[in-house]
């Protein structure tokens, strides 16, 4: 054998061809065969098959989102069995799972691309403030049940996982304008493009409406959001998102200038690294900023005689300004083996809340949180799966919480599978519950002297500041707990065209935090001096209740063809409540028991016709229920903030015209076609259902958030 010098780079010969674009294309044609490609559908992007999920799950996909014509995310959650959706007012939608909610949705967790949007100050989900355009959502995966072992604390009754689309899925320009009832004027512009390995999308929009008929609940919102996806190389991917939103909204009460100004912003950065075919890791950081300035009312006190003195009148603007910030860093490791799939991670979070006259300390307050978690699936045999998870979490408010989850899934065959599972989760008390000291204060003067006479100061307890405390937390709250047991059955029939989902459940909650009225308010010098009380009093938060929920949820999805689909569900729930704290309000027991409708069901029909005509019909029936924060305990106790049984029928018709690569979409959405109803705030009406009954108690809103027939017209133009 004669082997001439073997050198891969033995000679450098000319390639004048490089300047030839046609041949460059040739080269890339072959690159397509030979290139190493990144893992696009990595373990983090794959969705678990419904029949292998350890907990009951509902997925609202893009087709359902389009078909619903929904303008808000909570409206989409009407499609989830066991969820309750209501409008506290026109700009404050609320969604909860299995009741137990006031206007703040504090017992469900909401994640947007892995970013918790739970606000740590007053608690809950700022549905209307989130910088997520419904149009940018790819799908919503709703875990119907606690899942703290995966998503952490506050994943209490359920978890709403919102996934926005990868930037590459939105290429070109999109302009949308929506007009309709309640002076609705929405518009947004989206642009997406690609620069080599970088895909990006920018959305700017405005959202405006007058809210509902009787309330001061208008919305004026402007927002900007963006997403960048950068495939660094075959093994590394970087995602970056950001957004900001400015919202001005009327605050429910029909008081002039009573409004809320919210600034919301976030930044989110995630690096994903593919270690091997079976292993990957990710590092994620996000920052949430929520600044709420709420002008409540102006308190005007005229000159008031006080013995020989006259206390000078004053005018006090009652405001509630709370700024919340969150820094969160999370590390995840994914192992995706043949029989074992495992996700493990660590995270650290810092919540900062800054407010005056709201908490027991003015200025910034911090809550540190650390978590370690693991959850995985072990394939015992082809027909048996074992699923388990554990989260250990430590935070400054409630100390250490442990949240385990376990489930066994038996796949009888390709068509039928059964699931039995148990899960435990906790909800950490929020600062408002642990450290509330909500008060109004005013420095008094008398007789125009600019000071307050010592005699009056003595009467006020040795101070010239008049203070009225409304809420004062005694603190030392325990985390709320929930233990959930479920039996599930999934059937995939008719060549997988029909999917049936059944869930029998029993949930037990403990340490639920409730209001204790009339506790001693040490800094209050208003109640006795001017309020006619025998002692200074305020409300407190204390662990007070436990509840037990049992019920059944079932849903079906029938995909007859790509052109016709029917989805429906039914939910039954029975809630029993018990008060173990004798100081709590006894009527709250009933509030818990009726905080979800006993029966509710819904149906959605989607039909795609020829010539790009699309129609959908959605029907929902929701039984009687009351929200937890309905006001007062007087005669009309159960009338306010309730939702008497209602039927909701929505229709969406859209037509798409194509001109080459350009598209024009015209869409008409009609809502509430059967009847007008109140899904949250119900005012007592007279028998003729027309006359508003004005409450003699000014603290009770005399109006309701009427959900009447509405029509929206949407025009969308897409072009490259």
């Amino acid at each position: 054998m004669i082997r001439l010098p073997h050198v891969a780079l033995i000679a450098l010969l000319p390639l004048e061809l490089l300047a030839n674009p046609e041949l460059d294309d040739m080269f890339s044609a072959e690159d397509a065969f030979l290139d190493e490609l990144p893992v696009i559908l990595s373990a983090t992007r794959l969705t678990q098959p419904l029949n292998e999920s350890p907990v009951a799950m509902t997925v609202i996909d893009r087709e359902m989102i389009d078909a619903s014509g929904a303008r808000t995310i909570p409206d989409l959650l009407r499609l989830v069995p066991g969820f309750q959706v209501g409008y506290y007012d026109g700009n404050s939608p609320v969604a909860t799972y299995h009741g137990h909610s006031n206007e703040h949705s504090k017992r469900v967790q909401v994640m947007v691309d892995g970013r918790s949007v739970y606000v740590p100050s007053l608690a809950g989900i700022p549905w209307q403030d989130m910088v997520v355009s419904v149009d940018d959502i790819d799908r919503i995966e709703v875990t119907r049940g606690p899942n703290a072992s995966t998503y952490g604390n506050n994943s209490f009754s359920g978890v709403v996982n919102i996934f926005t689309r990868h930037a590459i899925e939105d290429q070109g320009h999109k302009i949308t304008a929506i007009t309709g009832s309640k002076d609705t004027t929405d518009a947004y512009y989206r642009f997406g493009s690609q620069l080599g390995n970088l895909d990006y999308r920018v959305t700017v929009g405005t959202k405006n409406d007058d809210g509902t008929d009787f309330l001061n609940d208008y919305t004026e919102a402007d927002y900007l959001s963006y997403r960048l996806d950068y495939q660094i190389d075959t093994d590394n991917h970087l995602s970056y998102q950001g957004g900001l939103k400015d919202i001005l909204k009327g605050d429910h009460e029909p008081v002039p200038d009573h409004e809320i100004d919210v600034a919301y912003a976030f930044q989110w950065l995630k690096w994903e690294h593919q270690i091997s075919d079976k292993q990957s890791l990710s590092l994620q950081y996000y920052y949430n900023y929520h600044d709420q300035k709420e002008f409540i009312k102006t308190v005007t006190i005229p000159d008031t005689p006080f013995g020989p003195f006259t206390i000078d009148g004053f005018s006090l603007d009652s405001t509630l300004n709370i700024k919340s910030e969150r820094h969160d860093l999370e590390f995840n490791h994914h192992y995706d083996g043949d029989i074992l799939r495992l996700v493990s991670g660590l995270s650290a979070r810092l919540d900062i809340v800054d407010a005056n006259d709201v908490f027991d300390e003015d200025g910034e307050q911090h809550n540190n949180l650390y978590r370690a978690f693991t959850h995985g699936e072990y394939t015992i045999t082809d027909s048996w799966l074992f699923n388990a998870g554990l989260m250990i979490e430590n935070n400054d408010i409630s100390g250490t919480d442990v949240s385990p989850r376990v489930a066994v899934i038996h796949k009888l065959n390709d068509k039928h599978s059964f699931r039995i599972g148990a899960s435990r989760a906790t909800r950490t008390p929020v600062l408002w519950e642990e450290h509330a000291n909500y008060r109004l204060s005013q420095t008094l003067t008398n007789d125009g002297t600019g000071t307050l006479d010592p005699a009056i100061q003595t009467f006020l307890g040795g101070t010239d500041v008049l203070t009225n405390q409304f809420v004062i937390s005694s603190g030392n709250l325990e985390s709320e707990e929930i233990t959930s047991y479920e039996l599930g059955y999934i059937a995939q029939l008719l060549n997988k065209k029909l999917t049936l989902d059944f869930k029998l459940f029993k949930d037990e909650t403990d340490n639920l935090i409730g209001v204790v009225e009339d506790v001693f308010a040490p800094d209050d010098n208003y109640d006795v001096a001017f309020g006619g009380e025998s002692s200074p009093i305020a409300d407190d938060w204390q662990n007070s209740f436990r509840t037990e929920m049992e019920g059944l949820e079932t849903s079906f999805n029938y995909q007859h063809s790509k052109d016709f689909r029917v989805y429906g569900y039914y939910a039954y729930i029975d809630i029993q409540a018990e008060m173990f704290n004798p100081l709590a309000r006894t009527h709250d027991i009933r509030r818990f028991t009726v905080s979800a409708p006993t029966n509710s069901y819904g149906l959605m029909l989607i039909k795609h016709w020829q010539n790009n005509l699309h129609t959908s019909l959605s029907y929902f029936r929701v039984g009687d229920m009351d929200w937890m924060d309905r006001t007062g305990s007087t005669g009309f106790d159960y009338e306010d903030r309730s939702a008497q049984a209602y039927n909701k029928l929505d229709l969406n018709i859209s037509k798409i015209y194509k001109y080459g690569t350009e598209k024009l979409k015209i869409s008409l959405t009609l809502q509430n076609l059967i009847e007008d109803f109140y899904d949250y705030n119900k005012t007592r009406y007279e028998a003729d259902n027309t006359t508003v009954y004005f409450s003699p108690d000014s603290s009770i809103s005399p109006y309701g958030s009427l959900q009447d027939t509405r029509a929206y017209l949407e025009l969308t133009y897409l072009f490259n």
């Binding site: 010098p5 490089l18 072959e30 490259n720």
Partner: protein, 331 residues
């Protein structure tokens, strides 16, 4: 003159003389002998061996080059390897002095065809589209090509083997693959398969076209085309189809790693084996039996994780290959 001999051993036949030659004969013989030696020397100096030439740094291309070199070693062929890099001066070798040039990929082939006049050329790692362009550019007789592309029918057989029932197949053709539209349609109709084809002219049209296409198809067949299916468009293709529950059939192993449910591809050993068979025949007969070859052997790769989440129960890769072979043999 082709002076290449197996094992590079030059067989020089020395006359056997049974008589004492005349001195003049001796001189003539000596001169002839010297002439032969000179010719032989010249032949060695011309280095008339197989040339393996490549213009790609691609890992797979390198592995193919190494694999071919190894095989030539094993069979005691003489060869030279050259890597052609960009921005250099004119060729420092005479390509025509080689008995056979093995050109790896289309760019190398273009270079070789441009700078050689008569040396036989065997190209591999060349796509069908590149081949069509090269064919138009050069009217070369002693040139044969082993394509990277698997026959369309093979992909369609794979789809049949993957799914129990007939699926509506969709694909997008760019300007480079458009020429193969009829061939694709014929293959699908011959296999009683429903096929929807969308055309795009520029990459910017891909996403919107794909969004429409996946609403009316059950499976997407990726077809090599630098405008439609490349490393920058694969992200959108795989994500969009996955969201709609549409499996993608790729044309390389990397596609499967990235998220395609299955792909047919040829491994380095399979390409090398076929290459060696072709050039062995050539070296025996001094001509190529075919101008164009498709890969005769192939492998099937599947992505169990993606298939699993899409609710597709996959057959083992060997079984899929076997089913395809049965269909191919039946044709």
């Amino acid at each position: 003159m082709n002076v290449f001999h197996v094992n590079n051993r030059r067989l020089i036949h020395t006359p056997i003389c049974t008589y004492q030659p005349h001195i003049l004969y001796r001189v003539v013989f000596l001169l002839l002998f010297l002439l032969c030696c000179l010719v032989a020397q010249s032949a060695f100096a011309d280095n008339k061996t197989i040339l393996i030439i490549s213009a790609s740094n691609n890992t797979f291309t390198k592995s193919i080059a190494a694999s071919i070199a190894r095989t030539l070693d094993e069979h005691k062929f003489s060869y030279t390897e050259k890597y052609i890099a960009a921005d250099t001066n004119p060729p420092d070798i005479d390509l025509d002095q080689h008995s056979l040039i093995i050109a790896l990929n289309s760019k190398t082939t273009d270079f070789v065809l441009q700078h050689s006049k008569k040396a036989p050329v065997f190209s591999l790692l060349v796509s069908q589209q590149s081949y069509e362009i090269l064919k138009q550019k050069y009217n070369r007789k002693n040139w044969s090509t082993l394509l990277l592309d698997q026959p369309y029918q093979r992909h369609l057989f794979l789809i049949d083997a993957l799914f129990d029932k007939k699926h509506k197949i969709g694909t997008i053709l760019g300007p480079y693959s458009l020429k193969q539209k009829n061939s694709l349609i014929d293959s699908a109709s011959g296999n009683q398969q429903s096929l929807s084809i969308e055309n795009i002219e520029i990459t910017d049209q891909l996403i919107s076209t794909l969004k429409d296409l996946i609403n009316k198809t059950d499976v997407l067949l990726a077809v090599p085309d630098p405008v439609a299916f490349n490393k920058n468009t694969i992200r959108g293709i795989l994500l969009l189809t996955y969201r709609k529950g549409i499996p993608v059939i790729g044309f390389s192993k990397s596609y499967v790693k990235a998220g395609a449910v299955a792909a047919i591809y040829s491994e380095a050993e399979q390409i090398t084996r076929q290459t060696f068979n072709i050039i062995s025949l050539f070296l025996k007969s001094d001509h190529f039996t075919q101008a164009l070859y498709h890969p005769d052997d192939f492998s099937v790769a599947t992505n169990n994780n993606v298939a699993h989440t899409l609710g597709i129960k996959l057959k083992p890769e060997n079984k899929l290959k076997q089913l395809i072979k049965i269909k191919e043999d039946a044709k």
